[in-house]
Symmetry: C2
Amino acid sequence: MKIGVLQLNPIVGDIDGNAVKILAAARSAKDLGAEICLTSELALTGYPPRDLLLYGGFVDRARERADKLAAELRDCPPLLLGSVERNRTGQGKPVFNCALWCEGGTIRQTVRKTLLPTYDVFDEARYFEPAPAGDPEANLIRHNGLTLAVTICEDAWNDKDYWDARTYARDPLEEAAAGAPDVILNLSASPLFLGKQQLREDMLGAVARKYAVPLIYANQTGGDDDLVFDGRSCAFAPDGALLARAAGFEEDVLLVDTADPSANTVSKDDFRREAETWRALVMGTRDYVRKSCFSTALVGLSGGIDSAVTAVVAAEALGAENVTCVLMPSPYSSRGSIDDSLELAKNLGVKTLTLPIEPIMRAFDETLAGPFAGYGEDTTEENIQSRIRGNLLMALSNKFRALLLTTGNKSELAVGYCTIYGDMSGGFAVISDVDKTGVFNLARWYNAEVAPHIPGAIITKPPSAELKPDQKDQDSLPDYAVLDGILALHVEHQKSRREIIAEGYDEETVNKVLNLVRIAEFKRRQAAPGIKLTPRSFGTGWRMPLACRRDL
Amino acid sequence: MKIGVLQLNPIVGDIDGNAVKILAAARSAKDLGAEICLTSELALTGYPPRDLLLYGGFVDRARERADKLAAELRDCPPLLLGSVERNRTGQGKPVFNCALWCEGGTIRQTVRKTLLPTYDVFDEARYFEPAPAGDPEANLIRHNGLTLAVTICEDAWNDKDYWDARTYARDPLEEAAAGAPDVILNLSASPLFLGKQQLREDMLGAVARKYAVPLIYANQTGGDDDLVFDGRSCAFAPDGALLARAAGFEEDVLLVDTADPSANTVSKDDFRREAETWRALVMGTRDYVRKSCFSTALVGLSGGIDSAVTAVVAAEALGAENVTCVLMPSPYSSRGSIDDSLELAKNLGVKTLTLPIEPIMRAFDETLAGPFAGYGEDTTEENIQSRIRGNLLMALSNKFRALLLTTGNKSELAVGYCTIYGDMSGGFAVISDVDKTGVFNLARWYNAEVAPHIPGAIITKPPSAELKPDQKDQDSLPDYAVLDGILALHVEHQKSRREIIAEGYDEETVNKVLNLVRIAEFKRRQAAPGIKLTPRSFGTGWRMPLACRRDL
């Protein structure tokens, strides 16, 4: 069987645009010789549509467009289309997450998703009613004497032999396998975390082997707010071997030939951590800007490594001609920071703008002289500087309609080493799920593997916010290697204070770090969205109470 | 039977503090003659604990403290304690939401919640595994020859005779009723929306009548981030009549006597919209500030009605001596705005601080003169003013450790008539779920029913942001009555453009308003939390994609 996998980059909510894209890709697949095709999950609406799904009109429009698309596909091979339909049973959640079997100009069969991920960034139980239990034909499509087992994303992620602990009682794949399918199809929208593709290929290969049936997995590609979908749709032989893999981080139409393994192609890929990070940041930034209908972006360059890496990503994502870097030196800025920033901008070929902030700082000092009389300097004065810069950057953003990218990393965001309404200002937080250690690694990798654009001093000098004389990050924070170790355990692995200390970290340091994480929660609540790269980022999947006591 | 309802205001995560509170309340109930007691849902952890539940150590600590509390309660009547326990079945979500039957110094039985609300602000399917089906004794406790049917919040909200459409297939109340209980107990954490108590009393009374059994409902009270729990625990006779009601918006220990209806008390209450709004705003603000470990607050007074109402709420919630109002006039501020603000502050007895912003505006103009040369004035210059004020307010907040309250209303937040990092700056958005019409109504109600503190001119003059000469809100927005009508349909009732037009609104106006709502999504993503008062606020229950196409 020749199966066309349509790996596309939909825009969430753009039902018409996505339909046009799907039709074009189906025609390409037909030209390649596909006998049937499948899209990724919710390809017609884009994933995740979130609360758009609470609008019945939106769901109905998707269904109407699916009918029209099915008609437009009349001359194409049959297509499994990821979309939604209203739940009209009178019980349960308003919508079903579906695969619509478009054949002969119409929708002939509907397969509904059973397992609804509701953890981390996923909220599917909020919207979707699961497929009812008890129908052995529910996930099967009979076509030309063949039986297709159709599953949607999570439906294939609950195998009792693969996982130590299962999240769900049902296993729709096992139920479908009882129907002796000739192939298992899986429509997915599986967002990236670093290293996830190896997990997917291992798990899906194991499932194909278990049932001794070829398995085809179609993933979405593209950036959608905080999520990056890395594509890499793939296919497995009945013995679990990888048969074919589509491109990563871009659209692709993959033809899978289950009968002739040698006719398939496995796209080359680079699974190194920095390589994946780079591609994810570039795609995530490009798509956020583009899908927000912007074409240009601003980056405030401090002379530090975070803003340097953000600028490098922006230039790659949007083209250097579409990026303006803004220098806003204060009396505490070192000459080196200014020179390094200008050199970086020159290397990248981006425009720069320099706006010294001292006159505005003086105006604030004078305005606040009365109420502040008798009080010593503290972080207040540092925050004022940062917020002056935020105001200038937003003014440029407003005037020139350029999206402001924020430059903070995950370590800073974790411990609150950042100013709300100051350096946290902006529409998109490019590296907010990369810890400081990762930022350094990425900068070195970029200079070695992409282009040596980042001046060495930016990488080698000790990190500093330069908000007061001779300030260094390590004056108030533990060494970044220690900090990032503690944060990874606490934020990504939900380890408690006691467990982290038991792993050998100094008790006082752990207490200090966890306390900083706790008191910074209010800042994160108002942070810009940023690109998720780890199993747990400070984005839509981080839902902490604010006014609480927290001793974790 | 005499049943003590412990209606408390826990602090989320403060397991020890909440346990102490519960013990004291149980002793009070004992003194009143209670034979058994019940708390609200998750009284030991506070509701909602959100992602604290993902930390196994937190869940274990709650269980350890529950054991200790059970021992401490040895001399008290048996108590049903709302808390959590780990799911150790090896399948499903990590935690059960429980009622623990504490009797004779130990936990003798555990009832698990079955129906897990996962809509709007509720994310229970993210954390909790439902009670397994099939055990007819699961919700029953046998005590002294009596049978108690124990349900947790949503468990009682799925009656097929009461609701036109049901959310869930199971009905744990119906299952428990098959065991011929003598009383139905319900541990709840039911956050307010205006008018909800009438719904609760109607629905719960109908259920009591259906099963001809007394029903006791225990609710949490207090503010927790965006949620306000209004208490008003109540009890119903077997004929559905209201037997007893606890106080609204405060802690209370309610003794219910199911044998002697005349021995019960029904607390007086005021269900008028403005009265409920007022009490919710005051409690929500007080608890957010207090539970965040602040004691003082700042409000920027513009001379308009929104900041006036916010100041009035703050003074009531925190005491006038703990509130500072800040006036930051610009050249566009009218004399009337300044005078009205000062008069309001004087009436309330709060401190004021006046910081004219013209010198800082000039410094920004000079700094931006180069890049802005050749460009005309637009909203950029208005936003700069707003962000100068935000910076000043945050500087005062930082220096004096006073929580900044933001003053925007729901109508503004809906259409983006507010400046991100400007007037949106602050830790808590008091009136962000009150539309402009509601703000006017509340101001009039306050002057008539509480104290005539708000100067008449603040209520009667046309609303203006005063960010440019002679500016009025209605220069760029429809009349507020029209705007708020459209917004209620779209935001609270998920009506589409077409449906709103069909209700008689002008098509062009509807298109304009819905477009404004769409393009303001990025601002709301970074907005401060605020008090939910309607069935759908822009808080944790509003989850819209950002970089998308949206035609609802």
